[in-house]
């Protein structure tokens, strides 16, 4: 009897040990092995805060490929950007939340993000991952996180580890799927589409914005500066609301 009881307790002990191992491995896998500092309640890196900001900014807005916003919105704001471009980062972290809140969430505008790659190799690598994220309708979030972590231009900061960390921080992004989509024909097509459209519209720098009303010809947005007030005034003007 006693030996049988001991054997069953041993079985339970083994099951608990195995469960602990499985759970720990699962947690390490889910966190990419990068965040096990155990530093208490507060997020240990700015990554957590950036992630929450991105979740808050884009949460609940329909996203389909490069397009953010209601599909039947009457006008489209098209942005041409390079992920290494500091002015694009300035616009994204400064004015974009206002544009999203005032125009996209209210259904007045939908937005398209066309990522170019002309500044250098870090732009190319960033654009490739952003295109793969766009295939999962997460290109806006990924690009936003890239801007928040932007390094010095062409310093080689967009390493595999850097790009993967941002991918893991991108809310809802399937990192395995992203890796298999990198350099895939659909992802390459997205990059080529952006470059072709930029050529057609005569884009010579970033960020450059166009407003397209319905299916009309895109009209370039004339901006005095990239702050929220200037951007919204230019949008209002282009929409004929001022």
């Amino acid at each position: 009897m006693t030996s049988d009881r001991n054997r069953r307790l041993l079985l339970l002990g083994g099951a608990i040990l195995a469960a602990v191992v499985v759970v720990v491995v699962a947690i390490v896998v889910s966190q990419g092995g990068s965040d096990d500092s155990g530093g208490g309640a507060a997020p240990s890196a700015s990554g957590g805060q950036a992630q929450q900001s991105v979740e808050k900014l884009f949460g609940g807005i329909p996203q389909n490929g490069v397009t953010l916003g209601e599909p039947d919105a009457p006008a489209t704001l098209i942005e041409f950007a390079d992920l290494q471009c500091p002015f694009c980062a300035q616009y994204t972290t400064g004015a974009l939340p206002t544009v999203i809140q005032d125009y996209v969430r209210s259904g007045r505008l939908k937005m398209q993000l066309r990522v170019l790659r002309f500044i250098g190799p870090d732009s190319e690598r960033g654009a490739e991952v952003a295109a793969a994220a766009t295939l999962q309708n997460k290109g806006w979030e990924y690009s936003d996180l890239f801007y928040r972590n932007q390094g010095q231009e062409n310093s080689g900061y967009a390493t595999d580890a850097f790009l993967e960390r941002l991918a893991r921080e991108t809310p809802g992004l399937d990192v395995n799927q992203l890796e298999s989509d990198l350099d895939s024909p659909p992802a390459q097509r997205l990059i080529r589409q952006a470059e072709r459209q930029a050529n057609e519209l005569g884009v010579s720098g970033t960020p450059t914005f166009f407003i397209q009303r319905g299916n009309g010809a895109p009209q370039q947005l004339q901006l005095r500066s990239l702050d929220a007030g200037s951007v919204t005034a230019a949008i209002d003007s282009a929409l004929g609301e001022q």
């Binding site: 339970l12 099951a15 499985v22 947690i27 889910s30 929450q52 949460g59 893991r168 809802g172 395995n176």
Partner: protein, 141 residues
């Protein structure tokens, strides 16, 4: 508690857990917001967080598979069925505890569906462990 009662308790908890996990799986793939009693967007925030997936697999799908396997283990005869049930329930309990910690301290939002699942996994872990260690009924007659 008798073996029969324990089996009933495990079956009941797993049968409650299955539709909870199925609903969360549905809203995940349909890209809908889970209905969260009291509002506040907690469920949406948790569902859209990086913790909602494990290696690209939605946690809700893992829960669905877990509940189904725990239920199925009740029909596996002998000690191996009890051991499998306990192991699955303990893994589910451990992962639920981790996710509850993440909700409280990392995501700063609580999803009632996840809390319900965590409570069910706790019940299952206790019941399945108890079922494993208690003496077989023929030995105590």
């Amino acid at each position: 508690m008798t073996e029969r009662r324990l089996r009933q308790l495990i079956a009941l908890a797993a049968l409650i857990g299955l539709p909870v996990a199925a609903y969360l799986t549905y809203v995940h793939y349909a890209e809908l917001e889970p209905i969260c009693a009291g509002g506040g967007g907690g469920c949406e925030k948790v569902q859209n967080s990086s913790y909602a997936e494990l290696a690209g697999i939605p946690v809700a799908v893992l829960g669905l598979i877990g509940y189904a396997l725990i239920l199925a283990s009740l029909w596996v005869p002998g000690e191996s069925g009890k051991l499998a049930g306990a192991l699955l329930a303990l893994v589910g309990f451990g992962f639920s505890a981790y996710l509850t910690w993440a909700e409280l301290f990392e995501i700063d939002a609580i999803c009632q569906w996840c809390v319900a699942s965590a409570v069910l996994m706790t019940v299952l872990a206790v019941a399945a462990s108890w079922r494993l260690v208690r003496p077989p009924e023929h030995a105590v007659r």
